[in-house]
């Protein structure tokens, strides 16, 4: 069932039930008041009869004998199908006989004895009895009539209510349909707009409008999602461009070198040189493909790595040692003076191999782009986090490029002459994210770069779990 139909149906059903309740209430109370009014009128007629009999008491004398009073004075507007009777009653058992003779139940006689008056209704005919103390003795006055007017009134009211109910239902259906379509129109517009957005027009956005309702929120949420999609598409497109460019360079070089080798006959030394050049370019290609594979393996899912506890300061020392062997490690100033007493505060659970790759990439970048300046590597604890600071006084990152440095293959505009592939920081970023950490970079061209890595320690990781 469509949402519009469902909203209309629920609206109509609820309102119809409410209306039915109200109309039933009106009908029942109207009947109750009509009956009460009729009984009051019967009471009035009986009082009038008692007054007449008090002034001209012409009644039967035998017990249970029906009297014949001169009812000339008993005039006025009679009730529909009215019948009256006055019965002198010497004793109560005889009264019960009279009442039973009229076809009235015992409860009628009991009510009369207890309260002096009683009412009974049978087949639309009302009976009213009253005990009156007349000059001839205690007399039972009985009046019966049919409430024809009241019944007609109730019947008319019922017809009116049924008609009103039917008309209301029809109106409710139309109004419900109209308002449901009005309410759902913005959603339909959003659906049409979202359906029209393809990869080619990802820059288009939904109209949020000025309202602050749920629909504006929905449109805003879609727009945010489109923002993220657009960024992801851009990133992917840039990644493909950069990757193709980087992969094509060594391939072009290899093809060029093989072409040069085939143009004419050369001596063995020249061929060896050519093969060495081809090997160098092939190694470069191999390195690139390795890097791509590693990048793919360090996806956000973190599948496939075994988490073990390890100390970050030890990783930092290993990196310094490894880099000392390869060259630039001498310039690394490892600062572990602010280490906490408790080793658990600088211990985290994760992959030490991956973390070493991440931190190694950052330190290597710092060394590579800071010339002969020292690189400071500090490890310290901050509550539930471990902070690793890598500060250099190198070339820095140009403003506006800070947001792109975690994209694969992206290289700062001021370091393109240096050797590199743009894998280091993206991989480091992914690895740190895998360890529920965060990297922040403050950098200024010519002044240097400060990289702050924040990862939760054992206690912090327990809190995250």
């Amino acid at each position: 069932m469509r949402l519009r139909t469902r909203i209309t149906a629920i609206f109509v059903l609820l309102t119809a039930l409410l209306l039915l309740g109200v109309f039933t209430f009106i009908f029942l109370f109207s009947g109750f008041y009509t009956q009460r009014e009729f009984k009051v009128r019967m009471e009035g007629r009986l009082v009038q009869l008692a007054t007449v009999l008090e002034t001209s008491p012409v009644l039967g004398t035998a017990p249970g004998e029906e009297g014949t009073a001169d009812l000339a004075a008993y005039q006025g507007p009679a009730l529909p199908e009215e019948a009256v009777g006055a019965y002198p009653i010497p004793s109560h058992p005889e009264m019960a006989e009279i009442i039973a003779g009229q076809g009235l139940p015992e409860s009628f006689a009991r009510d009369l004895q207890e309260s002096g008056s009683a009412t009974w209704e049978q087949g639309g005919r009302f009976y009213r009895g009253m005990l009156a103390d007349l000059p001839g003795g205690e007399t039972l006055l009985l009046l019966s009539a049919r409430d024809t007017y009241g019944l007609n009134k109730q019947r008319n009211l019922l017809n009116l209510l049924i008609l009103a109910y039917a008309l209301s239902l029809a109106c409710l259906l139309l109004l419900g349909e109209y308002f449901a379509s009005q309410a759902l129109n913005p959603i339909n517009r959003i659906i049409r707009k979202v359906q029209s957005i393809r990869a080619g027009n990802l820059d288009e956005r939904l109209e949020v409008g000025r309202g602050k309702d749920e629909l504006a929120e929905l449109a805003g949420t879609f727009n945010n999602m489109l923002d993220r999609l657009e960024i992801a598409f851009d990133q992917q497109s840039r990644f493909i461009n950069n990757a193709s460019h980087e992969l094509r360079n060594p391939l072009t070089a290899i093809l060029g070198l093989t072409e040069v080798g085939q143009t004419r006959q050369r001596d063995a030394a020249s061929y060896r040189d050519l093969l060495r050049d081809i090997e160098r370019e092939a190694n470069r290609l191999d390195h690139l493909v390795d890097g791509l594979l590693q990048l793919a393996q360090t996806g956000e899912s973190g599948k496939g790595f075994t988490a073990v506890p390890f100390r970050v300061d030890e990783i930092a020392m290993e990196i310094k040692e490894a880099m000392t062997v390869s060259g630039p490690g001498e310039r690394i100033r490892l600062d572990l003076e602010q280490l906490p007493d408790d080793a658990r505060e600088i211990t985290l659970t994760g992959s030490p191999t991956l973390f070493k790759v991440a931190l190694g990439n950052i330190v290597e970048n710092a060394c590579k782009y800071s010339g002969d300046h020292p690189v400071q590597l500090r490890v310290l604890n901050d509550g539930n986090d471990i902070l690793i600071l890598v500060a250099d006084k190198g070339v820095g990152i140009p403003p506006g490029e800070l947001t792109n440095i975690f994209e694969p293959f992206y290289r700062g505009s001021n370091v393109r002459s240096s050797r590199g592939y743009g894998f280091g920081l993206p991989m480091a970023y992914r690895i740190v994210r895998l360890h529920h950490g965060d990297i922040r970079i403050s950098s200024q061209p010519g002044k240097g770069t400060l990289v702050t890595i924040r990862v939760p320690n054992l206690q912090g990781q327990r809190g995250l779990a």
Partner: protein
Amino acid sequence: MRSVLIPTDFTPESLQLMEYALLNFPGEPLHVVLVHGLRSPDSKWGLIQFSSRREAKKLRSEAFENALNRICKTHARSIGSVQTLMFTGRNTHAFKNAIEPLGITDAVVPENGTLNCRNRRSFDPTRYIRKCVDCVAEVPYETDQREASRQQFSLQNLLNLRT
């Protein structure tokens, strides 16, 4: 100790400028002066009641305090002291007078973006810093530029309706 002036809007993001101060002035302890612009009250009663220390306390959120403590702890050797200055003046002379006793020699300000002052009476003192301090380092400042720009040019901001 070198005194460095840094504008702040009392958000943790604005403390990035402190890290840039450390980059710009390495190797010596810094006396960091965080300056925040605040319009003084218009009424006499407001002026009598005005206390810049109390206003600063009101504006400093818990997140800001935590971030400041964290930076001070992380760079304990480089940051000698941190002071907050509430600037309530309206012109360059007043600003010069305010910073003169502090012996400010340098300043670090956001390069393109502006600080995101959410308080109705707050303003960004960056333009005064640019005019009054001799050595001003302009650094990239990462913030939600769209939000800052939206707030900066909003009707609410123009009519000074923000709370």
